[in-house]
Point group: C2
Chain length 702, copies 2
Amino acid sequence: MRVTFGLAAILVIALLTTTTWQRQPVPAFGFAAASAHAEDARERFFLAVPSADRIRQTHRVLAGEPHLAGSPRDQQLAGYIRDRFAAAGLEAIETSTHDVLLPWPEETTVEMVAPRAWRASMREEPVDGNPPPTSDSSESSLPYNAYSASGDVTARVVYAGSGNAEDYTRLEAMGIDVRGAIVLVRYAVPYSYRGFTVLTAQQRGVAGILIYSDPADDGAAKGPAYPYGPWGPDRRIQRGSVAFDFLVPGDPLTPGWASTKDAPRVTRDQALSLPRIMSAPLSAVDARVLLEAIGGPEAPAAWRGALPVTYRVGGGPLLVHMRVRSDDRVRPIWTVTGLIRGSEQPDQLVIVGNHRDAWTYGGSDPSSGTAAQLEMVEAFGQLRRSGWRPRRTILFASWDAEEFSLISSTEWGEEHEAMLQANAVAYLNVDSGVSGRVLNASAVPALNQTLTEIAQRVKDPAAHIPVAAAFRDTVTSGVLPEDASHDLVGNRFGSGSDYSVFLNFLGVPVADLSFRGPYGVYHSLYDNADWLERIGDPGFRYHVALVQLWGLLTLRLADADVLPLDYRPYAGRLREFLDEASATWPVPADFDQARTAATALGEAAERLNTERHEALDRADPAVRAQLDRRLMRAERAFLDPDGLPGRPWYRHAIFAPQYSYAPEVLPAVVEAIRTGDPGRVSAALDRLTLAIRRAVDALDGR
Amino acid sequence: MRVTFGLAAILVIALLTTTTWQRQPVPAFGFAAASAHAEDARERFFLAVPSADRIRQTHRVLAGEPHLAGSPRDQQLAGYIRDRFAAAGLEAIETSTHDVLLPWPEETTVEMVAPRAWRASMREEPVDGNPPPTSDSSESSLPYNAYSASGDVTARVVYAGSGNAEDYTRLEAMGIDVRGAIVLVRYAVPYSYRGFTVLTAQQRGVAGILIYSDPADDGAAKGPAYPYGPWGPDRRIQRGSVAFDFLVPGDPLTPGWASTKDAPRVTRDQALSLPRIMSAPLSAVDARVLLEAIGGPEAPAAWRGALPVTYRVGGGPLLVHMRVRSDDRVRPIWTVTGLIRGSEQPDQLVIVGNHRDAWTYGGSDPSSGTAAQLEMVEAFGQLRRSGWRPRRTILFASWDAEEFSLISSTEWGEEHEAMLQANAVAYLNVDSGVSGRVLNASAVPALNQTLTEIAQRVKDPAAHIPVAAAFRDTVTSGVLPEDASHDLVGNRFGSGSDYSVFLNFLGVPVADLSFRGPYGVYHSLYDNADWLERIGDPGFRYHVALVQLWGLLTLRLADADVLPLDYRPYAGRLREFLDEASATWPVPADFDQARTAATALGEAAERLNTERHEALDRADPAVRAQLDRRLMRAERAFLDPDGLPGRPWYRHAIFAPQYSYAPEVLPAVVEAIRTGDPGRVSAALDRLTLAIRRAVDALDGR
């Protein structure tokens, strides 16, 4: 009895020792059991590195001054990032220059001619009293709409709600003619892309468009406004580009090819993505003066905002003089890249990017993301110094002129098209990294599994539970932002950030991460360090969590024994998208072939998953490498070489932006359905079916 | 079988007919079964009269222009109210004039002398852009502190948090001397009375005090600020009186007697309620400039507000020049009264009052209440024209100069002291009638039963359930304002409105009603018709509910067969108050006599309730009248003829204001406990016991 007890005790102790000191973690997706412990240790190491204090210090450098694309400060910061890359031990650091059309403003005049003389300030004054140190205006941060046409017109003003097609139809029904008029519209929230608002106006023959921020949308009527809270003060001006990047992004003068020194360039008149009419952003303060004078019938209820005026559509004596002059110059922009070369598959690239340029200070957009990127580089540097080297190569990129038209990522991606199509494993993007506490993770469905695992590993800094659980709580409590995905990983990709060239042009799996919250200072002078430090992320805790998420995702893709991409969820989403689209088409049977292909994709994914499972048990590098190549071909297979009808640059058959930032799934099919033409629908479905079958073949290694 | 069925059917029909057409309502408290049907019918009639549209029209007249006490517009509105009283058929309409000290501002200068020259605007500019039509400034609405001393000083500035005694102790511990300095303090919320803040500063030897509204307290950091929401914009200035009305309210020159033409007057130097130091209100915009320049050590955490500055206590080079000049004139004010004479007991008075004067437009304070009062008068007029006359007389009063020091109600109450002590049944007050949706009902405990019944009869306009149920929902949902009572009827009475003279000086049961909500424009130019119509009560629905509550309360007190006052809850509250006080005193047994008296009060109330029950069954007018007289004596019995130590005007033994608006229960006892002197505590308890015994005798008719 005594002896037996002793033996049992020894067994128990041995067991405890094993579980405590040699606990074998469950392998992460794509990792062999034999690699699990090492990967777990690396991740523990990585998770411990990010420092809120260091992120704050970095952020103060980045957001301390306005750093518009092409400006001296933007160039200085390119140097600062290069130095930080070097300090962390990155290899092959490079600063590449592209010369692109980057118009800066010379004049934006909006003035009332009748019934009285008045001129819009076009200045974002400090919200009250003295200027806070980070809110000084500077020449390079004058509010304007980049790529607005230059011009000069005096015209009557029509208020057109949010300036959507339906709004103009409504005006027409009211007998109000917008041709030759200056149209005043308000930003809609969730944001519709202002470039599309301008195109819509241009198609109706307006002479110029003024886009203002109503306090009802993301301003003082929603909650405390800056400097007291996250919402936009009345004096904010949401500047921004109006390029038609939903047609083609990047330098408007090199649509589809890189803006290298000797590249051919189209003329401004030939450029598809350039507006033909004038546009300018307005503050609520200035818009109010126009709305008070505009006269005419009362605006439809849905158009009324929170300004203390009676919203009218126009018809009074109001005459406005609008003059916009932009310098229309070609300027250099700078892309900084650096890498950690992989040990086993150095040719395979995991690319991690963030843009550096900001409309003004870029407190959240993008410097919160840039600070997170530099902290991630710091953590990878420390991991590297500990002796680690990734299986695959990790490439870090600091993009430029994203704000103008996703320019440097697009030009860089176009420049390296062949290399990237051959070697890119994934592109992992962060833009405005942090503006609040709600996780916003988007990815192609192939990344769902890995992202979900990581969201279970990283802790929410406030809730002290995994970010995945905190996200669930946010969904069930109903406080999710109105345009947010209810899935932990959103799979509907639009545009609006640097992942576009990778997903839509190159067919590379992408992910995009951020923590979001109320953010009414977007693209204004008030998106500054003070906003971020006091309101957006006090204590920089969500920056730390973002670095952890982004870093672990990078680490797993770079180190996995077989790429952690799973195409079963892709097949599920495809069936969902097909159901949605076919519900809007009188002959649902037309979708049968595509449905069959989607089912085949799920089966192929299942077969590959089985093979991967076996390959992870047997350590045969050749088998694993072959699986990697099949997986890398799968996303590429969704590219239609001819692109979407009317916009050949957008080649992905499953995802595209609508003519806005919003996502459109199965874009060619959906657009064909809108035309009502069965021939077009049938053609689009055929092309889609072929793309899905190519993906099946890719997974099957045929 | 067939016959039996027929009989049953007839019986059922008869029963249904009875319940439908001759339903006998449960008699309201104080009503005989025989009166219940008539009372129910009257109440149905009354409930149907109030019209949101008519209230809005009335409100636009009242709040259309600033109407400071003593101003021409105030006098015009006295005439308007007299005309409305007359149109509704009130009798014995009278406008009585009192000549009282009513200082208007000549100058309020606050300017920085060092480190740079700057001058506080002291103006509430329109919140943005052009002035809304109702926010024009006018001479009579210059922000100032009425009754501030006039003077001129240049001194260093100390920031003293909310300016409470503890705050000065804290400064002392930090080695900061406030003597001779200008002290900057912020309004605390829930409001402490600014007059007490001035007295506290005066006692510490400061030269002048500036009181500003921090956005953290009731401003833009709490939520959308006007014009977008209920909170105060940064430019608002909370003006107001700084008279020490917690010592004695009313005209400072006639403390305790009426300001009639030939009344003796004390000199300004003799007036107990007049401050000796300068004070001025400031906006957050102006205060921020001073706080940015103030220098010295960081302020304690609790003192830090939401301005984007580092809050410091002072010690830098900041020097401020402060000059206040007030005209210190005696001016006429106007009290308008009118009545509906009672049929049975015309000598018994139910008094219904609201003040008319406003600091500026008085959107909520008081014009929402004034509009409700005129609508109630309209409803009583219609009831009167239908043939009804109340059993008791109802007297309607429109008070003046409430904002300065509860002046016209105090002077009128002092003038009619003997008549009111003999005849007043109750005083039913409304001040700021509506600023939101949460019922705020306060009363002496004798009115709890009737108020509760009425709150079950009137519907909440948004929730479509009785206001009593809606109030419960508000309490359980946790959204009750922080200083609100969690009881449907709050029984802790402080001061701050016109009920003071009735309760504290005359011993008349009082009630005070309103619907409240976030209200950051209090005492500013932005408390205007636009605020009320768009934000405080869109659709004027809560105005209708207020008229219904106030009217039904009036109706029941005026028409009850025996007065609906119940002193059992009073006994319960007294025991509660005694428990609270004795818990702070080392010898709880000292409270035994008072406890015994409270128990006796409960028993006497029970006996009276039994008698009332019997009297309501037997229609003997003499018995009922005798019960009325005993009930009317009960509240009077709580008066201590000598008043509270140091403030003889405050005579009620159970309720008084603290040296602020906040309530103090058993004031003499609690203040004696604070001195720690057993002799004083014992004397105060003896006096309290005597007062309670007098109430027992009153109820018993001895």
